[in-house]
């Protein structure tokens, strides 16, 4: 019988739902907290047919996946995929190379060069950390003056990765008809070659993350959306992925791909058993 191991940090709603889905499907399932893990150069620490990585810490998750790769344990997601998603710069490079529409983006390391890059992009623009999530430190700058302030603050942060300035054109997101004050973007869930569900995230703020209060509503998965999602997912290597997209007057653009997605707010509006689909995928990926 297939034995799935879930490596996790915190038993959030998602991890509980995954555990319940495995129980419902009669899949042998062991949850291992990353706090307790002792990884070893030789196999044995992860005695599973497949590992579902759900660490809330990106760093820990990537290390766990390195071991899975080295020991030949199928992992959801593979280390290379997670690494491509964990760093927005790498995601953007891969999307561009695959010809997937993505916002104009530049990277700079110094305040001066970042300001010059922003002049090239034009204002408003968005400054993001190249690694990070939940919209932490994602800032819109409407002028050079605002950019100077943000960059000044960022330049004092201790972690050198925080001085990798990921700079992006501000995309005017098309909203819902008749809702001129609401911003929205689109989150699509890809599991292997299926686009299992999609939601719009609606918010009075231009940042629409549900972790920041964006409200989910169901978005139909059209053939066009499915096709774009499959190309974007393939660009980073595929797996169980949550794609962030924006609707523009020129069509959809993909700005981010997440490799340990949150989905608690998406099951009810879409009616799709997202955790169930993830567990089924893990079983399909497992060692025979």
């Amino acid at each position: 019988m297939t034995h799935i191991g879930m490596v996790y940090s915190r038993g959030r709603v998602e991890e509980k739902m995954l555990q319940e889905a495995a129980q419902r499907q009669g899949v042998q399932f062991t949850a291992v907290q990353d706090d307790t893990l002792i990884l070893d150069l030789d196999p044995g620490a992860l005695p599973f047919d497949a590992v579902l990585e759900r660490s809330v810490s990106t760093t820990r998750g990537l290390y766990v996946l390195k071991f899975c790769g080295a020991h030949g344990i199928p992992a959801i997601n593979r280390h290379a995929v997670a690494a491509a998603c964990a760093d927005k710069t790498e995601t953007s490079l891969k999307l561009r190379r695959a010809g997937v529409p993505t916002p104009r983006t530049k990277v700079a390391f110094e305040q001066e060069s970042a300001l010059a890059a922003l002049d090239q992009l034009g204002y408003p623009a968005v400054i993001k950390p190249t690694t990070g999530s939940w919209a932490r430190m994602v800032a819109r700058v409407d002028s050079r003056r605002e950019a100077e302030q943000i960059l000044e603050h960022r330049s004092e942060l201790p972690n050198p990765v925080q001085q990798v300035y990921y700079l992006q054109e501000y995309v005017n997101k098309l909203g819902a008809a008749g809702e001129p004050t609401l911003h929205r973007d689109l989150r699509a869930f890809v599991v292997g070659d299926e686009t299992i569900a999609a939601i719009w995230r609606n918010s009075p703020h231009w940042i629409t993350n549900t972790a920041r209060g964006g409200k989910a509503s169901v978005c139909p998965v059209t053939p066009e959306l499915h096709d774009l999602c499959q190309r974007a997912a393939a660009a980073v290597g595929g797996g169980v992925l949550a794609l962030d997209l924006m609707e523009t007057s020129a069509g959809l653009v993909c700005h981010e791909i997440n490799h340990t997605m949150e989905f608690r707010n998406s099951v009810a509006p879409t009616g799709v058993d997202i955790p169930g689909k993830i567990i089924e995928y893990c079983v399909r990926q497992a060692k025979a």
């Binding site: 996790y8 940090s9 907290q33 990106t58």
Partner: protein, 62 residues
């Protein structure tokens, strides 16, 4: 015997002392106190122990 008392005593929110009626199945389970809204984390299943959940670290996320 203090051990036994600890294990059978009803679980309380460390923030507001409201009773927590929970049966967690995962160590590290996160829950919100219905009394005060504090985010709590189950730090141990046996014995059942909860603590205020830690603040998010810089690299936490999706």
């Amino acid at each position: 015997m203090s051990q036994t008392i600890l294990e059978t005593a009803p679980l309380e929110c460390p923030e507001c002392a409201a009773r927590l009626a929970i049966t967690p199945t995962l160590a590290g389970e996160v829950l919100d106190c219905r009394g005060c809204g504090a985010e709590l984390e189950v730090v141990s299943l046996t014995p059942l122990l909860v603590q205020l959940a830690p603040h998010a670290e810089e690299d936490w996320g999706e």
